[in-house]
Amino acid sequence: MKSRSAQLSLTIVCFVLGLLLVAQFRTQRVTSRTLLSASSADQFVIASSLVENNARLREEMEALEEQLGEYQQATGRAVLEALVEELNKVRIINGLVEVSGFGVEVSIDGPIGVLDIQDLINELRNAGAEALTINGERLTLYSVIASTEDGVMIVNGMKLSRPYILQAIGQPEALETALLRRGGLIATLERNYDGLAVSVIKRERMVLPVYKGAIEFVYASPIE
């Protein structure tokens, strides 16, 4: 009984498979036959509609090609790059990014006043300093150099201790010459203050930190 039932199921499986194969064969035959069995007139209609459709597809493809070309010109990207470049420059000016470069380092020890330091900074700016720090405090347009009543210098709200180290990024020779020229500011300061020790060293590479303060506009608003 067991073997018979097994035989029977095998037969059924074969029968089903056979049917499936025939069905598949038929489908194939039917497809190719439709084309062959179609009349020449029908074939003509099919072909011409295909030709028409392909022409439309080609048109669509050309339009897409054109659009792609426009995007690939990437004018938006060029604008973006120019904007980023300008932004970075203004950020350097505002002291809101870390910068590095050539320059000079001025070390000052001894009795010296706030106004003298301001004059020194003015001199460095005049000689083309692009970024400045004093004792690691980045100097911005809004930086205030002040002093407490007992003469402790305060920059960006931070107390500084001596010696004062000014770092300026810019053309080293121009900066050095501006400071050390005969009858220049450092010569004048040295004449005015006893025991003032000033040195100016050209540096190949300095890294100046960002300004840590915040600038908010309460009273000023842009016009337009």
């Binding site: 020449s40 392909n54 659009q67 792609l68 904007l83 350097i92 106004l115 890294v207 600038i215 000023a220």
Partner: protein, 207 residues
Amino acid sequence: MPGIEHESGALAINRLEAEQEELKESIGRMREQLDKYRRELAANTGMLKEISAELERQKMMAGLLAVEGSGVQVILDDSSLRSVSGTADSNDFLIHEYDLRDVINLLWMAGSEAIAVNDERIVATTSIYCVGSTVMVNDTRVSPPYLIQAVGNPVAQEDVLRNPAYLKEFKRKAELYGVQFEVNRIRMLTLPAYKGGFPIHYARLGD
């Protein structure tokens, strides 16, 4: 031979269908590519907007935008008593470039948000120096009377300027030799934008 013609007609259709298939595939690919570009552009446009806004903010800080607001107007002028000078140093009758610097520094200390001298906007790279008796601001010649305009809190600004602890030498000059020093609060000042350049040749971003 209609049979052969018939057969070639079918072949032509097959060929056209194959071509159609290829065209459709290409179009599909191109549409995908376009969508990718469109999304990228949208992202760029978003970034463009953000960067433009940030640039405006930074330009405001740098003094590259004309501004308006309350503040003070300070007038500094050489003394008209110059000719009467007998024993005093003639320098005591004049406004010097360091006088301008000191007043400007005080104005920053008082929380000013924008400053201009004779319509030259003070920026981070500004130096105020003299060539002979001529004062230069942003490498532009300015002559007396010097009009310093500063946008900020007028009360705070005036308090600092009038504080006897500051500008001692200068105030002495004003008192003894007639150098002019006038401070006025103004409800609405208009300051021009900085029109010079910011040459950056040595400083590089980051380390």
